[in-house]
């Protein structure tokens, strides 16, 4: 355990150093213009982090979701323009299903596809980030009530490019009778497929982006001078940034909470955790973007400043893999179905043990 902790800490530090050195506004702009950050990706894979979640017997580092949460959060904190989190999740799911992991960046799908008797997959994915630039997508297909992990070749699928808030290449996938490159059983996956995993990833990324936004606001508050003093001396600005800090703290806790729930290995836990995190992160993101742009004034919406690379990602991520409203509705419905007498028990989530 303490050895695991060390690997996790070392990995986090390495990734932080790499991202701090390599990721600049230029890199973001290039990625948004459609240029894949190949050099950055090679450095990442060289570190072995893409298979961090994969068990050691399958050649991975065997880390838990709790261990890798800091790395996923860094992906948000640096708005890393690479599908690192997606690839880690995809690799983990492939390995859990006993499949081989291609050594390339991977997309993942939050939808549940259909698997027909001839072993072909069909389904629609309204939006898959990175799909236009990648070879494969990993997702879950269902047949006769059983879930399967599938690896599909994107070239076999009709992919329609889409515009998003973050402007990272994304596509709608119309999957029609596609034979998977690989397919395997997925008893560890619940009815919602990989959606809780992706929702958790996005939540943790949002927590990272919020952390960065908070740091940017504090720095700006201390340096921008108006009316003869740094704006951070004005009580109105202080209170806005304090509110932002509250959301940022809650975001971190919520993201990690979702990771902890996936780590129990019980699909219902993973779904509950994702629902809690995505709901809380959505409201945090909405309030945080408003506060940050108010603190920064007009400068914050210009390309001369980094802020919008983070606020646009928050607008994107809160909507992906189920919006905060969708997940809140899921939580509310579940609570109603379980009945009021169970509400506190469900919240305390202690009796479940």
């Amino acid at each position: 355990m303490s050895e695991d902790m060390n690997i996790s800490d070392i990995l986090t530090e390495q990734i932080d150093r790499l991202f701090s050195n390599e990721i600049t506004a230029k890199v973001w702009a290039a990625a948004e213009d459609g240029n894949f950050a190949t050099a950055l990706w090679q450095e990442i894979t060289a570190m072995g982090v893409t298979s961090a979640l994969v068990c050691e017997s399958a050649g991975g580092a065997g880390l838990s979701w709790v261990d890798v949460e800091p790395v996923l959060r860094l992906c948000g904190r640096h708005a890393a323009p690479v599908p690192l989190g997606e690839t880690m999740l995809a690799a983990w799911n492939l390995a859990n299903a006993g499949l081989e992991i291609p050594e390339v960046p991977l997309a993942i799908s939050p939808s549940v596809w259909q698997l027909d008797v001839k072993g072909r997959v069909s389904g629609i994915d309204p939006l898959i980030a990175w799909a236009p630039q990648l070879e494969y997508v990993v997702g879950v297909a269902r047949s006769a009530g059983k879930q399967h992990i599938c690896l599909l070749r994107i070239a076999d699928i009709q992919a329609i490019a889409l515009q998003t808030y973050e402007r990272i290449p994304a596509a709608k996938l119309n999957i029609e009778h596609v034979v998977p490159v690989q397919i395997g059983d997925a008893p560890h996956i619940g009815k919602l497929g990989l959606k809780p995993h992706l929702a958790t990833l996005r939540s943790v990324q949002m927590a990272g982006a919020l952390d960065r936004i908070l740091a940017l606001c504090v720095e700006y508050g201390n340096t921008r001078v108006q009316f003869g003093k740094p704006i951070g001396k004005f009580q109105a600005i202080q209170h806005m940034i304090a509110e932002l800090a509250g959301h940022t703290a809650a975001a971190q806790v919520a993201g990690l909470y979702a990771c902890r729930q996936i780590a129990t290995g019980i699909p219902a836990d993973a779904e509950f955790g994702a629902a809690i995190a995505k709901t809380r992160l959505g409201s945090a993101a909405t309030r945080a973007t408003a506060i940050a742009h108010q603190v920064f004034g007009a400068i914050g919406v210009t390309d001369e400043h980094q802020l919008h690379y983070f606020t646009r990602r928050l607008w994107q991520w809160r909507a992906e893999a189920g919006s905060e409203h969708e997940w809140a509705q899921y939580l509310g419905r579940q609570a109603f179905d379980a009945g009021s007498a169970m509400l506190w028990d469900r919240l305390a989530r202690h009796a479940a043990a």
Binding site: P126, L127, L162, Q163, T164, Y165, R167, A170, K172, V225, Q226, F227, F234, A236, I237, T286, T289, A290, H293, Q294, G297, A298, I299, G300, V301, T302, D303, E304, H308, T311, R312, W315, Q316, A319, E320, S323, H325, E326
Partner: protein
């Protein structure tokens, strides 16, 4: 009974309905070509052709004297035209600043020659105006600006930089505020003057500022020894601060301070009815939005009436802008929740395109024309908080 503000009502006379219907018919036609993004821009969208057509119909400079190309119609008639334009998000940016701000400024403070030269061009939609106020180091703190006009033979030499000037790259004339007296450190509010600046003059460099929507309708304008002749000084030398402040106060209560997001509502209603999501949640949130909008419009109309009567309802205008911006800023989120908007922006779908654009631009709505913090400070002071 004492209350700290005055909002006596103004009823629009029934006879203005004819004008309203005329404008509406014109816009129903014109609007078919606009994208969601166009509609989102509205008064920041620059469409010279459209402005020329609006000018031909006599809907720019409506209240100005005929001898300056105006139409001597009432402020109420102008209001009807403006709100009809904003209700559909018409791309009025090419004549907006001239009609709303610079024209009235010249009428109040300009020389006869300035009026004769510029007002007819504005009214025809031919001269597009922009405003040069903010500078890199003076956002909310306008009085700290440093760009300087130095007296030279026959005029002035301008040096410095202006930022956030909407559509400067497309405009013909800027009204710019420059320091003509002592330095900002010692004479903050004193010694500023307004100038009419030909945007084609040599020494002016307009650099686009790309913003988060991927566009560049803001600009940075650099002045490098730009010559402005004497007769292009507006009003009195050294009185620019007071003149510009009066302008800001005027614009604060206008419909563009609460209607920027209104064009979201009708397509959102359609979508909700199509998806059968016109439920208790949607009904209530839509109803609240309607109530707030009606009340804000009444407040704005009241201020119009007071301005027409020659009063200066500065407090009231600040209140309306603060309420209006808060209202506008909430609307994209409201619509996003109600329709369960997906994670993409679809340029082929007007609602999606508009929602995507406004989500990214509403944060600036409480910055332009005086930030929330500035406005609330003004309001608190007006209430007598010492």
């Amino acid at each position: 009974m004492t209350t700290p503000f005055n909002f006596q009502p103004l009823e629009l006379p029934a006879e203005l309905l004819t004008l309203r219907r005329e404008v509406r018919a014109f816009l129903a036609d014109a609007s078919s070509e606009w994208t969601g993004r166009d509609v989102g821009h509205s008064w920041t969208g620059f469409n010279r052709e459209f402005s020329l057509e609006v000018g031909r119909r006599g809907w720019i400079g409506m209240t100005w004297p005929k001898r300056y190309g105006g139409h001597e119609r009432s402020g109420l008639e102008r209001y009807v035209v403006v709100e009809e334009m904003l209700a559909v998000g018409a791309p009025v940016g090419a004549h907006w600043f001239g009609d709303r701000q610079s024209g009235p400024l010249l009428l109040r403070m300009g020389t006869e020659a300035q009026r004769e030269r510029f007002l007819p061009l504005i009214a025809q939609g031919k001269a597009a105006f922009c405003i040069g106020l903010s500078e890199p180091d003076s956002g909310s703190d306008l009085a700290s600006l440093r760009s300087r006009a130095t007296r030279v033979d026959g005029g002035w030499r301008l040096n410095g930089r202006k930022v956030w000037t909407t559509n400067a790259h497309l405009c013909d004339v800027m009204i710019g505020l420059f320091r003509t007296g002592g330095p900002a450190e010692t004479e903050k509010h004193k010694g500023l003057s307004q100038f009419l600046i030909d945007m084609r003059a040599s020494g002016i460099d307009v650099r686009p500022i790309r913003d988060l929507t991927g566009e560049a309708h803001f600009n940075e304008v650099t002045f490098d020894d730009v010559f402005v002749p004497d007769d292009m000084l507006v009003g009195r030398e050294g009185e620019g601060w007071a003149q510009a402040s009066a302008e800001l106060a005027f614009e604060r209560s206008q419909p563009d301070r609460y209607m920027s997001c209104f064009p979201l509502l009708p397509p959102a209603m359609d979508k909700l009815q199509e998806l059968r999501l016109d439920d208790r949640l949607a009904e209530r949130r839509l109803g609240e939005s309607i109530a707030e909008m009606v009340v804000m419009r009444e407040m704005s109309l009241s201020i119009l009436g007071q301005l027409e009567a020659g009063r200066s309802p500065g407090q009231e205008a600040a209140l309306v802008k603060d309420l209006g911006n808060t209202y506008e800023q909430r609307m994209p989120e409201l619509v996003r929740e109600l329709i369960d908007a997906p994670a993409r922006i679809n340029p082929d779908d007007r609602l999606s395109d508009l929602l995507g654009f406004l989500t990214q631009t509403v944060p600036t709505f409480s910055l332009r024309g005086g930030t929330r913090e500035i406005l609330r400070g003004i309001i608190a002071k007006g209430l007598g908080l010492r």
